[in-house]
Amino acid sequence: MTANPPVHYIDEQLSAYLEGELTQQEKDALEDHLVHCRRCREAMDELQRTRALLGSLPRQSAPSFFTSRVQGRIRRRSRGRFFSDSLLSSYRIIYLVAPIILVMLAALYILSLAGSDLVDGTTGLGVEELRQQGEGTGDAGQEPVQSTDAGEWLQPDASDGPPATPGGPNGEE
């Protein structure tokens, strides 16, 4: 840009002004010019408006399930090496297994309470004690809870090579 102001400024120069790229001298000259030149003022207004419109464009969001779709593509292309859909390799298993375990524990607790309330009137022994006497076993009715299995399921699959961490919150496809 020359020190002498042009007859009319072009958009590129006006844009440079908006970006603060002109020297103080150039800036003063342009501002003086704008006071007197309606055409350049209108050009400047249009340029500012264009920039404002761009700035106000709404940001478009990626669609729902975007992450899981990306994971799905990687899974397919890596032939299941990454982002395996197996329930066992995902934290989602916690949400599936935990309620089942809770229900089982609650049921066992209720059963044990009910069992202790049932006392034989003639002997004064509880049902459990009677059963132990009759069968000679100490663990009747007490099925072991397979709680450790869930812990094993959460372990990463060593055959995956790199650490196979869970697929994340958007696990659904």
Binding site: I10, D11, E12, Q13, S15, A16, E19, E21, E46, L47, T50, R51, L53, L54, G55, L57, P58, R59, Q60, S61, A62, P63, F66, T67, R69, V70, Q71, R73, I74, R77, F82, F83, P162, P163, A164, T165, P166, G167, G168, P169, N170
Partner: protein, 196 residues
Amino acid sequence: MTPREERRFLKRLKARDEEAFTLFVELHQHRVFNLIYRMLGSREEAEDLSQEVFVTVFKTIHTFREESALSTWLYRIAVNHSKNRLKYLSRRQAGRQQSLEDTGDLDLIAAGQRSMAQPELLAAGREMEQLVQEALVALDEDHRLVILLRDVENLSYEEIGEVTGVAPGTVKSRLHRARAALKEALKKVEQRGKKP
């Protein structure tokens, strides 16, 4: 994220840590999608291509040499994919476009470009967005890109230079030319919109 955290995060990404990658996608998906959508003008294309961008990141993260910010590298991948897709789409439309150009009817050409953006933008109350998108699509690809990176994504000249592979000085002059071109394109689409 502090630089130390970022380094640790990058290390996890390079180790193909799925959890880290998932977080990365969730952090950047909207930005990538928005840029590609504005470049292509089609939501469907943008959805497909944005997914490809992240697949490329996952596949090639080990080649990232950390000479620029990770986000800049991501933009570069998004830009390269967009350019390739635009080339593909223009080849696909070439026959139809050529016949329109032969007639010299610019309005018809613009109408063809507009059709790319129309389905998603015709909703009531979004006329201005539609006009701006039309004007953007009408721009030369490099002009559109520099405007989006600067005026929509707010990247610096240096960052735009790293993304596009041109010198910051060139970015600057290209941006000013692009804004002038957009101003004119917008004027045209607005005038066309006023026609009965």
